[in-house]
Amino acid sequence: MELYSPEGLRLDGRRWNEIRNFECRINTHPNSSDGSSYIEQGNTKVICMVQGPMEPTLRSQANANKATIEVNLAVANFSTLERKKRSKSEKRMVEMKTTLERTFEQSVMCNLYPRTVIQIDLHVLSQDGGLLAGLTNAITLALIDAGVAMYDYVAAITAGLHDQSPLLDLNGLEELDMSTLTIGVIGKSEKLSLLMLEDKIPLDRLESVLAIAIAGSHKIRDLMDNEVRRHGNIRSSKLVNN
């Protein structure tokens, strides 16, 4: 398989610095959650629902200083090529869950909600590379929908290195063959709230990979921002009409 042809095209016809088709919706489940979102990054599809901030069921969960963030990750059996039952205690799942919790503990203004818990439920419907990035973006949108105070968007994307060329937003096939870097960028800044590297990338090449990943995250942030504003306009027009 030729991941990156000498003519500069990737397996699915993109160039090195192009992101996949990115679709997002917020407030998809207004009745069953406080905030919800649905995103598609290529064929990676995720639903996210946020409950809270609310009183924790157990006293022991309450932290007097700040809100507790709890992520639940459910991966559908049909989300990969082969149907496979996955247990929640799988190592990769647990790792992803804690990574997400830590990321959002940084970006949510947790100190505003002491003694509460924010529960985030994620459902992965389909996987095609960049799962962690997709989950991060979905959570950002759902938290915004829930009205939880955050410092800024956390926009995430993957990037990898093929020979000398950095490639942006890897799909499932590319991810199998390359070491993958996932980053989450705060807003339009160059601050990272998430950085995860699977396998390894030589240090002298890391900078070019990081550079396109940050540029890609900014693109994702803009696309998410558009959706939030579109939804906001609809909400406010409803208010005016009433």
């Binding site: 000498p6 500069g8 699915d12 016809g13 088709n21 090529l81 060329s165 096939l173």
Partner: protein
């Protein structure tokens, strides 16, 4: 399947490819995204719109426009670009590489992918054509282009859909160039599928077959001979009443069979002495499987990867002890009408002569005594071929297959007999058979249908007269797959701009951080010792006593990697050549001349970059300390081995340089002794050297290579450097260090030799417990009456050894790194980067290990190292064979003028002949029973390895293995293969 296109804000459209794949009996539906774009250019220089749409790649470079503004014209004056169909590329890749035709070619992506799925080697050659740019090939990504992407229609086969996509490319190009170019450029679609051509024409595309296209070319007539045979209508090619070889099993059956252990996969190795017998080594059995007879061999070529099935036990046999050469069997077959002279019509692919041989064998097998039972070997038949080893073959047209009276222009079939005698002859069609008689020609095999006795092929080009030095050299290089063409322009572009005026830059006042890391060693008294007239000097040495009584010794190796940076065209060319090839009269360089003989070469009296290993050695040559550094040196003198020896021996010379050489010599002797004590082997090969007459450059003398003390001086320090470097890079890169190992020989390899020894020389044997034991037992094997016997035995043992090989450290465990022959635990090649690619990788890894520069990714990736290693192992082997073949050829030329009697030794005995080695020339030759004497009265005693016969003078004689015999050596030309070889006659 249908995908809906959706336009994205970034200007792309996205659609999806949906397909169903079966896996483990179930079906899987796969959905992939597929992006369509409108920024793929047409790559034509004459186009005035595509320059505006191109986008840069990750290095910021824009794609180059390659297709010419004024492409070649056909006879009828049509200037044109060519669009190729898949079948043309698969069958006629040689033609595409031909410099006479096919310029400005568009390869649609659809075609490229089909080619890749069908044959990866052809895909790589095609990619090579695109990359080199001389023939102006481009890949047009039609599947990603919005304008040329097509959906598969309902009920349309995937092949029809792809054909339609290719036609779409042709029509898009035609319309695009019409609209955007002022030149009148036409598009010709070349395709060998009549149905597809028909459809294309109805869509207004100029579609032609290969023949039709050549008809319209000015030089088309000459090119027509080069058209591969399977593009012709194949029905006319062979008679219909030929009975057939067994068909190969279906791939499903093979897969299942291999999985459940009833079929085995392995590489076919055809016996050099008997082309109807091959062996396949499979992991499941200790002994190789025998494959006997052409029906069981079932169209396999030597070194094909084949699938075999065991034959029942009653068909198990011992290996044939007789010699069968293809030239004896079926030499008189007529290529045109294969079997028609045979009246019975019942004759199959097995010829009668072959049957007689088989019957004799069978008789022997059935009458074999109990004692022979243990020698029985399982036999098998070939039921499938995984991968063909087909390549270019060199041979010559069999004169008997060219009919006399036919002088018309129609193309006729004839046989080509290949130089490699383990391969069958190949049938080709040509109009110029007569013209090519007596010439070396290159052919390619196209197919071997089951109903044909011989494979079909086609002519590629003629090399020249048989026995002309150029033709023979070129033939030899082709036969051993050595790349000998001059370096391409893009490779030469990687050399320093200053050319031969390049000098070492000023190190003191420099900003270059790498240059600052170099150590200035110009004050050291460095000299080089090489064979006389050596131009590519890659190593130099220095030594000096230290105040504490120890010695400082430095080995300085040419710093090739300063010039050959990873991932450049130069690096890739070097990696693919793998090694320089040394022939008697010629050297095929791995790197361009400028580097090899000038900029990298550690010439005396000038400053050069080098990579130095500096040890502190104590009085007994034990390493106290070792340092590695990139450095600058200035060699004081370039000695030849003889001159260095003379200077060391000359007591009156007491200058510092000579003294340092004496230190080196002293230490090297100690190193050698340490090595021998550890069990290093001292094997022998009958190496000879051919002297050329300086005026006529004709070879005129053969000499056995002389070894001086200074040879071993250099060798010892090179070994020491290699070992030290191997430890260092393994330390830094435990998974991917480039190393070299030599496996201990399996005991079975020595079985026959030991058996011979016990029968012929009672009391002597070779021990295999360790390399030390082997070395000692070899030392003990002396025949007081014959001084040469020990050397002979060493030569024969060498042939039982395994070959040393390169590997990356991740592929074996540490205990298996061992180099058996040198008796060290770890070894690599570091000291000849000018002529070996392994050394270049080792240099880069060492530079990484000492923090001089970052190591390139490709040398840190296990899989990439694996491909490098595989290639250089193959290249190294081929280079050795080519070198030997070259010596063999020249020895043959020398003997032409010097017929004489010489001493020889019998090294093998068959029931119909013996093999004799003549140490004086380093040649071995077969003497057939007919040449020895009366064939009917001969008795072959297999247990005693002896053959008794009545010789031509009527005397009763017996010869056995290890016997010393006197032979007449003369050179004869084999009329059939055109090979000159030594003929030996027992005196």
């Amino acid at each position: 399947m249908i995908g809906h296109r959706k336009r994205l804000s970034s200007g792309l459209s996205v659609t999806s490819k949906v397909f169903v794949r079966s896996r483990n009996g179930g079906a899987q539906k796969i959905v992939r995204e597929h992006y369509l774009r409108n920024d793929i250019p047409c790559y034509s220089k004459s186009c005035n719109s595509c320059h505006d749409i191109v986008k840069p790649d990750s290095n910021g470079e824009l794609p180059a426009f390659i297709l010419s503004e004024s492409p070649k014209k056909t006879k009828s004056g049509l200037s044109h670009y060519i669009v190729l169909d898949t079948n043309i590329i698969l069958h006629a890749i040689d033609l595409l590489e031909n410099a006479e035709c096919f310029y400005d070619v568009i390869v649609p992506q659809t075609v490229l992918e089909e080619v890749k799925n069908r044959s990866f080697p052809i895909y790589q050659r095609l990619r090579g054509l695109v990359k080199s740019e001389d023939k102006r090939f481009i890949v047009f990504h039609n599947e990603y282009n919005e304008a040329t992407y097509i959906n598969r229609n309902k009920n349309e086969t995937i092949n029809d859909r792809n054909d339609r996509a290719i036609r779409k490319v042709a029509s898009w190009y035609a319309a695009h160039l019409k609209a955007n170019s002022s030149q009148n450029i036409n598009i010709i679609l070349i395709c060998n599928d009549a149905d597809n051509r028909q459809k294309a024409r109805s869509e207004g595309i100029d579609a032609r077959s290969l023949v039709e296209y050549f008809d319209d070319l000015p030089n088309g007539e000459d090119l027509k001979d080069l058209i591969p045979s399977n593009i012709h209508n194949s029905a006319e090619f062979h008679g219909e009443n030929e009975t057939t070889f067994p068909e190969y099993y279906s791939s499903a059956r093979i897969m299942a069979g291999v999985k459940n252990g009833t079929l085995y996969q392995g590489m076919l190795n055809i016996s050099t002495y008997n082309f109807l017998q091959g062996t396949v080594q499979v992991p499941a059995f200790k002994k190789p499987l025998l494959i006997i007879g052409s029906k069981n061999l079932n169209r396999a070529f030597n070194s094909d990867s084949v699938i075999v099935e065991l034959l029942p036990k009653d068909k198990w046999r011992e290996p044939s002890t007789s010699i069968v050469e293809e030239s004896n069997i079926g030499a008189n077959d007529n290529a045109e009408e294969d079997e028609e002279e045979d009246d019975t019509g019942a004759k199959g692919v097995v010829s009668d002569k072959e049957r007689i041989l088989l019957a004799q064998e069978a008789l022997k097998a059935t009458s074999a005594k109990e004692a022979d039972q243990k020698r029985l070997q399982p036999t098998a038949k070939i039921v499938g071929i995984m991968r063909r080893s087909w390549r270019y073959y060199v041979g010559q047209i069999a004169p008997s297959s060219v009919s006399e009276e036919n002088t018309g222009n129609a193309s006729k079939s004839c046989f080509v007999i290949l130089m490699d005698k383990v391969l069958p002859k190949i049938r080709i069609r040509t109009r110029k058979a007569k013209e090519y008689l007596g010439q070396r020609i290159v052919v390619v095999v196209d197919s071997w249908p089951s109903n044909s006795r011989y494979p079909n092929g086609h002519f590629v080009r003629a090399l020249g007269e048989v026995e002309s030095a150029e033709a023979e050299t070129e033939a030899l290089l082709l036969e051993h797959d050595v790349e000998y063409r001059p370096f391409a322009k893009n490779v030469l572009d990687c050399l320093p701009e200053e050319g031969d005026k390049w000098t070492v830059p000023d190190v003191e006042n420099t900003e270059d951080p790498q240059l600052k890391k170099r150590v200035d060693l110009r004050h050291k008294l460095v000299c080089s010792i090489d064979p006389p007239n050596c131009v590519d000097i890659d190593d130099a040495l220095h030594a000096k006593p230290l105040p504490n009584g120890n010695y400082e010794v430095g080995v300085h190796i040419a710093d090739v990697t300063h010039f050959v940076k990873p991932n450049t065209a130069l690096d890739q060319e070097g990696a693919s050549r793998g090694t320089s090839v040394y022939l008697v009269d010629k050297r095929i360089d791995m790197l361009p001349m400028l580097l090899g003989t000038n900029l990298c070469s550690l010439k005396p009296y000038v400053d050069r970059f080098s990579f130095s290993v500096i040890w502190e050695l104590d009085e007994n040559a034990n390493i106290v300390k070792v340092d590695y550094m990139k450095s600058i040196i200035r060699s004081r003198e370039a000695f030849s081995y003889e001159r260095a020896q003379l200077r060391i021996d000359d007591k009156s010379q007491t200058d510092e340089l000579t003294e340092s050489m004496r230190i080196l010599l002293k230490l090297s002797k100690k190193l050698k002794q340490q090595r021998l004590d550890a069990g290093a082997l001292n094997l022998a090969s009958p190496e000879v050297k051919v002297h050329m007459d300086s005026e006529t450059s004709d070879p005129n003398e053969v000499e056995i290579k002389q070894l001086l003390e200074t040879n071993s001086l250099v060798e010892e320090f090179m070994l020491l450097a290699n070992i030290s470097v191997a430890r260092k890079i393994y330390d830094s890169y435990p998974q991917t260090a480039m190393l070299r190992r030599h496996a201990p020989p399996p005991a079975t390899n020595f079985e026959q030799l030991n058996d011979m020894l016990s029968v012929r020389k009672p009391g002597l044997s070779i021990s295999l417990e360790s390399s030390r034991a082997l070395a000692d037992s070899l030392d003990r094997c002396v025949d007081p009456n014959d001084k040469y016997f020990n050397t002979l035995l060493r030569i024969m043992s060498t042939r039982c050894m395994m070959a040393a090989e390169y590997f990356s450290s991740g592929s074996y465990g540490y205990p298996e790194f061992r180099h058996y022959g040198l008796a060290v635990d770890i070894y690599t090649h570091f000291t000849s980067p000018i002529r070996r690619y392994c050394d270049i990788v080792a240099h880069r890894q060492l530079a990484g290990a000492i923090g001089y520069e970052n190591l390139d990714l490709s040398h840190r990736d296990k899989n990439k190292m694996e491909t490098i290693v595989k290639n250089i192992n193959r290249r190294h082997r081929n280079a050795q064979f080519a070198g030997r073949a070259s010596i063999e050829y020249y020895v043959g030329q020398v003997m032409r003028n010097n017929e004489a009697e010489h001493e020889g030794y019998v090294i093998k005995c068959f029931n119909n002949g013996i093999v004799v080695l003549v140490p004086k020339f380093g040649i071995e030759g077969l003497i057939k029973l007919e040449m020895l004497g009366d064939a009917n009265t001969a008795v072959f005693n297999e247990d005693k390895y002896e053959l008794s016969f009545t010789d031509l003078k009527g005397r009763q004689r017996t010869v056995a293995v290890f016997d010393k015999v006197t032979v007449d050596v003369k050179s004869i030309k084999d009329e059939v293969s055109g090979k000159r070889k030594a003929q030996l006659l027992l005196h």
